[in-house]
Amino acid sequence: MSEANTEQELIVSRQILSINQTFSTGPVMGRFLIELRDNKRIMALRCSANGRYLLPPREVDAMSVTEGDEWIEVGPGGTLREYDVVYYASPDPLTGETRDVPYVIGWVNLDGVEGIAPLWHLVEADDISKIKTGARVEAIFAEKRSGTMEDIKHFKLIEEEA
């Protein structure tokens, strides 16, 4: 670059790029979400090839590369397997909105699951410092449900009786 350019105005274009989408649930995720919406039931899909539970259910079990074939109700209680306390707020790429921090996301192994199939969701507690690996939590359903993952509002920490 020549010297004259060091003071040069450098053009920038700022914009939000957006494309509307119609996402399919497919029959598997669709059934899972319909059960949340209509019956407040959390349904796992069990794969008989290896006994693995899929949660949320997906078309294919990655380990056996076969379809799950048995629907089993699990939860709403469960045990927190891992969690993240998020202090850094990032935009939701579906809406562009930014969430208040801190919040906690957790991987919950629901009661009734054989093996490990943690469901990923928000975890709430009156005091988030009490959220620990192994803590007991319970799914709290939204009053108005629309057949999306938000039909579970969050998992609530169950305070242990002293």
Binding site: T22, G26, V65
Partner: protein, 380 residues
């Protein structure tokens, strides 16, 4: 190529304008399951050793779109690599995985759901640079409009001829159970369809489509074990053109000619007019059938109009599948061409079978007005 690579199995979904009942995972699983069963293999050493996928983050509205299908393509604790271009490019790459000696059996799985986003134009618009070409509203359809005008003038292709290309596509599509656009149309119907990007009419544009394709590719030794009728990939070539439309010879075939030359040299094709039994062209727009025919050497440069007039497509068995005009999603255009060539060479093409087909060529393109061209020669 010293060693050889074969395609041992092919599966395609039905192509439809809105497969809203399935997530992309469901579409891909349908075809992966099919080819797995055809060759009787699972995933792992001495089975399917690697997966090459083909998809696009913008069409899927998903960063790392292949991450969403690792379970479906057997990539749990196994390798998977995604080609983000027309599926013919994924064939190109999958062949190199095998010829390199790194893998013997490779799953190729591609998908594209054009119906998911508000419009495919909104996706392809974003292929243009932010300061010089996006602001004026370019997308792949607009780019094709410019190319169509340049090409039709240079090669004497008429509106009537383009209508006939579409009529013929529908006639063959009616014999292809997987084709999307199977309804018969007349020359008058097409010529009466409104202009969308002059001189491209609505009838000249491939329909919005969803679909997925899977294939099993294998080294020569493994191919013989896996199937009775392997189809050999004997030639491959691809080539890019430059980006700005004003700097390209839009009427010509700069990149396609080079891609074809490379593929023909590898396959030992010296006279494409005479030595190809089946030709599959990814004609996203009707004019491209003639333009690509020139690029593939089915007729001379500038002779596309005369070639159409003389019944070149019938004489050279072009697009018996119905072609892309019958409806494949953008990324699957070239891969569906390869799939049709395999079916033809296996004698599995049903009512549209070319009797005794021995050698076929498939073409695919990526980018605005065919900036990247890919040519695959296949033999049985």
């Amino acid at each position: 190529m010293g060693k050889r690579v074969a395609i041992c199995a092919v599966a395609q979904t039905k192509y439809e304008s809105n497969k809203w009942q399935q997530r992309m995972q469901g579409l891909v699983w349908e075809v992966v399951k099919d080819v797995k069963e055809q060759v009787g293999l699972g995933f792992g050493p001495r089975e399917i050793e690697s997966s090459v996928t083909c998809s696009d983050d913008l069409f899927d509205a998903r960063t790392i779109s292949d991450n969403a299908i690792t379970d479906v393509v057997g990539a749990h604790f196994q390798g998977e690599e995604k080609v983000a271009a027309d599926g013919s490019q994924a064939v190109y790459y999958a062949v190199s995985q095998i010829l390199s000696g790194h893998h013997d059996v490779v799953l190729l799985a591609g998908h594209c759901k054009e119906s998911q986003g508000a419009s495919r134009n909104q996706v392809t618009h974003l292929a243009f640079d932010p300061f010089f070409t996006r602001p004026i509203g370019l997308d792949y359809l607009a780019a094709a409009g410019l190319q169509a005008r340049a090409y039709m003038a240079a090669s004497g292709v008429t509106d009537e001829q383009l209508a006939d290309v579409v009529v013929r596509s529908r006639q063959w599509a009616a014999k292809n159970p997987l084709a999307n656009a199977q309804d018969a149309v007349t020359r008058e119907d097409v010529m009466a369809s409104p202009m969308v990007a002059d001189p491209i009419r609505e009838g000249h544009v491939y329909p919005v489509s969803d679909g997925a394709i899977a294939m099993i590719l294998a080294s020569e030794e493994r191919a013989q074990e896996l199937c009775d009728n392997p189809v050999w990939i004997t030639g491959l070539g691809n080539c890019y053109d430059t980006f700005y439309l004003g700097e390209r010879e839009l009427e010509g075939n700069f990149s396609l000619s080079k891609a074809a030359e490379r593929a023909y040299k590898m396959a030992g094709v010296t006279d494409p007019k005479a030595e190809l039994d089946v030709v599959e062209i990814a004609d996203q727009y009707a004019y491209q059938q003639a333009q690509v025919a020139e690029g593939l050497g089915l007729c001379g440069a500038g002779e596309g109009g005369a070639w159409l007039e003389a019944g070149g497509p019938d004489a050279q068995n072009v697009n018996r599948s119905g072609g892309m005009l019958a409806g494949n999603p953008l990324l699957m255009g070239g891969l569906a061409r390869v799939a049709e060539c395999v079916l033809q060479l296996q004698g599995e093409a049903g009512d549209r079978q070319v009797a005794g087909a021995k050698r076929a060529v498939a073409q695919g393109s990526t980018g605005p007005a065919g900036q990247l061209q890919t040519v695959v020669v296949l033999e049985n």
